[in-house]
């Protein structure tokens, strides 16, 4: 029993990283209407920024904020320099542009920081025992950072005027426009938010594992799977689906074998697309 509880706890932390990334992807998909393949590399940039912030101050929260800042700046720059210019083109052009952007970010990070791994220098501590279950203080810290990021993101989406406008554009861009919502301002807010969320996810991933120029790219597949599972364009769905996927990956591996961990993400994506294309929380969407 303890074995399974520990696996679930490990899965929750992995799931929060996946969920945050999926949230970034699903926001861009819902509002800018294309799958953003650069999300993974914005994560990586966030991880390097968080590493720098943590190194300079020794505080994980400063690292997280530095990551969020760099991610937001990167998202905004991507919008101004690339995606704004391509607005109105087919989704596939935007997708290809985002793949190119991802390559660019990865290459620049490789040149700036080299390809050898770097780590967050955090003291290694023994776990707490709660009723025999091992709970790692570091996991709790990282989960808290992830939950805080989620809270801020949902606060912006559901409690602020700009969030309401973003959801209006996601619902129906034409209707939003004739209601007097400026697409430019919504887009700016979107890219700031999506960049910052992906970057915080990257920072957590980097603190949990190691930081190298490829870490974010490798997370892209599970994140896309979660975005689809949650119902593409649905923020809450993405976060919940990320958690489900993270826990499922950890808990299922003793049965299916460890080499199939990633395949599980594929399988989930496949089943959802075949059985319930609108995802867990999505609604049926007609072609506009």
């Amino acid at each position: 029993m303890i074995f399974w509880i520990e696996l679930v706890i490990a899965g929750i932390v992995s799931g929060l990283v996946i969920g945050l990334t999926a949230l970034s992807i699903t926001l861009v998909f819902g509002i800018a209407r294309f799958p953003n393949a650069a999300a993974g590399d914005i994560m990586t940039a966030g991880a390097y920024a968080a590493l720098w912030g943590h190194k300079a101050t020794g505080l994980l929260i400063v690292g997280g904020l530095a990551g969020a800042g760099v991610g937001a700046a990167l998202g905004l720059a991507a919008y101004w320099l690339i995606f704004q210019k391509l607005a109105g083109r087919a989704a596939v052009s935007l997708l290809v542009a985002s793949i190119g952007l991802g390559f660019l970010i990865r290459a620049v990070l490789g040149v700036m920081f080299g390809h050898s791994q770097q780590v967050f220098q955090m003291p290694l501590v023994r776990p707490w025992r709660v009723e025999g279950v091992r709970v790692h203080p570091q996991d709790l810290t990282l989960a808290a950072v992830a939950l805080a990021a989620l809270a801020v993101a949902f606060g912006i989406l559901y409690l602020t005027p700009v969030g309401r406008r973003m959801r209006a554009v996601a619902d129906d861009p034409a209707l939003a426009r004739i209601s007097g919502i400026s697409p430019q301002r919504v887009m700016t807010a979107l890219w700031l938010l999506a960049g910052a969320i992906a970057a915080v996810a990257g920072g957590i991933l980097g603190a949990k594992t190691v930081v190298s120029p490829e870490i974010g790219w490798d997370m892209l597949l599970p994140a896309f799977a979660a975005a689809i599972l949650g119902g593409i364009g649905n923020p809450l769905g993405a976060a919940v689906a990320g958690l489900i996927l993270g826990i499922a990956q950890e808990v299922a591996t003793p049965f299916v074998g460890f080499t199939y961990k990633l395949a599980l993400a594929f399988l989930v994506m496949l089943v959802v697309l075949l059985v319930r294309p609108r995802g867990l929380f999505g609604r049926i969407e007609g072609v506009r």
Binding site: H115, V125, E214, M219, T253, F258, T259, L262
Partner: protein, 412 residues
């Protein structure tokens, strides 16, 4: 990035050239100096192999200078064209194409990681030239990679690493060994080699896990292995995954021992995890043929070129031997030999029986006198099996207070 071969001593080169010329004049036109024999030095100057790469390249150049100073090989001078693999298969394929098509090299020396060597092998095979590598993957022994028998490996295979791990596990008195392998040819090669040798000694592997790269956590994998209560976990792993696994293991408060390949349990791992978490880890790497006269010659050249002791870079000793092996095979094959003729001589000059020789000049003199030679390398005794693989000795390092400390050497 192209550098030409050079002699450290111009006078020596002139003397060497003059004696070669004199030899040519006395023997006749058959031994006349041909066009230089071009060698591509394709090494990991940047990327994960960068701690070793520039030393490897400098030793190719130094060894070529030694061969040329002794009058060249097979009546020809050697010339080096240097390139960087970036420890990246794509970049190495581009560099190898350039070396083959533009520079028309006859051999490529010193590729480092298995991914790089496997990517370059089809090109060298197509061009009918040699590829001497320092990689571990078992796939490099057989076709299609080694379809023409032109690949020679100067490093131990992953399988041999696994056999060395088993020797060490027995010597340390371990009884309950478990294995964890990164899911690729190299990782599984290590643990499969270990398992075979370990079971042949009458032992059992209590748990084995093959894991995927790029996981956010390896806790499920670790729990599976730790549930079998192993006293040692044997790894076929690389640096990033080892870092994550050991961090999670240490935080779980376990106390078993570890045997890890040297490319994963290295100073970078100690930097990443600190002295406490790495205390007592056993790191295994191949070691050079340190007591041989050939190693002394290499060591002197290495100190001159890099300012560091030759013992610090096992791969540089391998590239030094690559030039010596190629040069001696060319010498034995005679002037203007083609690839097949040179290839036919490689095992003849490197393997027993024969007079043990340690330097190029002495070996060349012995060949000229018509004697059979057995070159003893700086990196190992350098006897190639039918797959072109060698069997070096292995150094067993214990991490003590944040330092890698070599305790003993095992032979397999």
């Amino acid at each position: 990035m192209t550098t030409r071969s050079f002699s450290p001593d111009r006078r020596q080169l002139i003397a060497g050239g003059a004696s070669a010329l004199a030899l040519a004049l006395t023997v006749g036109p058959a031994l006349a100096q041909g066009a230089p024999f071009r060698i591509g030095a394709l090494n990991p100057i940047t990327g994960a192999g960068s701690p070793y790469g520039s030393g490897m390249q400098k030793m190719i150049q130094a060894a070529v200078a030694v061969v040329n100073a002794a009058g060249g090989a097979g009546g020809r001078m050697l010339e080096v064209i240097a390139e960087d693999t970036q420890t990246n298969p794509q970049a190495s394929v581009l560099a190898a194409k350039k070396l083959i098509e533009v520079n028309q090299v006859r051999a490529i020396l010193g590729t480092w990681s298995s991914g790089v060597s496997l990517a370059v092998a089809p090109l060298t095979n197509d061009a009918d030239i040699f590829l001497f590598n320092t990689s571990g993957a078992p796939a490099l022994s057989n076709p299609p990679a080694n379809a023409k028998g032109l690949l020679y490996r100067f490093q131990a295979t992953n399988d041999r690493f696994g056999r060395a791990f088993a020797e060490i596990a027995v010597k340390q008195g371990f009884k309950r060994a478990a294995t964890m392998a990164f899911n690729n040819a190299s990782g599984i090669g290590n643990t499969a080699g270990f398992k075979r040798a370990w079971e042949a000694k009458g032992n059992q592997v209590v748990a084995e896990v093959v894991y995927e790269p790029n996981q956010t956590s390896y806790r499920a994998e670790l729990q599976r292995v730790l549930a079998a209560k192993p006293d040692v976990i044997v790894m076929g792993s690389f640096l990033p995954d080892t870092t994550i696994i050991l961090r999670e293991w240490f935080q779980a408060g376990e106390t078993n021992k570890w045997i890890i390949p040297g490319w994963a349990a290295n100073p970078q791992l100690i930097t990443a995890l600190g002295a406490d978490a790495t205390e007592g880890l056993i790191s295994v790497d191949s070691v050079s043929n340190e007591t041989a006269a050939s190693f002394a010659a290499f060591d002197a050249a290495h100190r001159t070129a890099t300012g560091q002791a030759g013992i610090d870079n096992v791969y540089a000793a391998m590239t030094w031997d690559m030039v010596m092996t190629l040069g001696l095979a060319m010498e034995a094959a005679g002037p203007n030999a083609n690839t097949a003729a040179i290839n036919a001589k490689i095992r003849e000059i490197a393997n027993p029986p024969g007079e043990e020789v340690f330097t190029f000049a002495a070996a060349k003199a012995a060949l000229a006198a018509g004697r059979k030679i057995n070159y003893q390398g700086a990196s190992s005794i350098l006897d190639f099996d039918q797959f072109g693989d060698v069997t070096p000795d292995f150094g067993v390092f214990f991490i003590t207070k944040g330092k890698l400390e070599r305790r003993y050497v095992v032979k397999i």
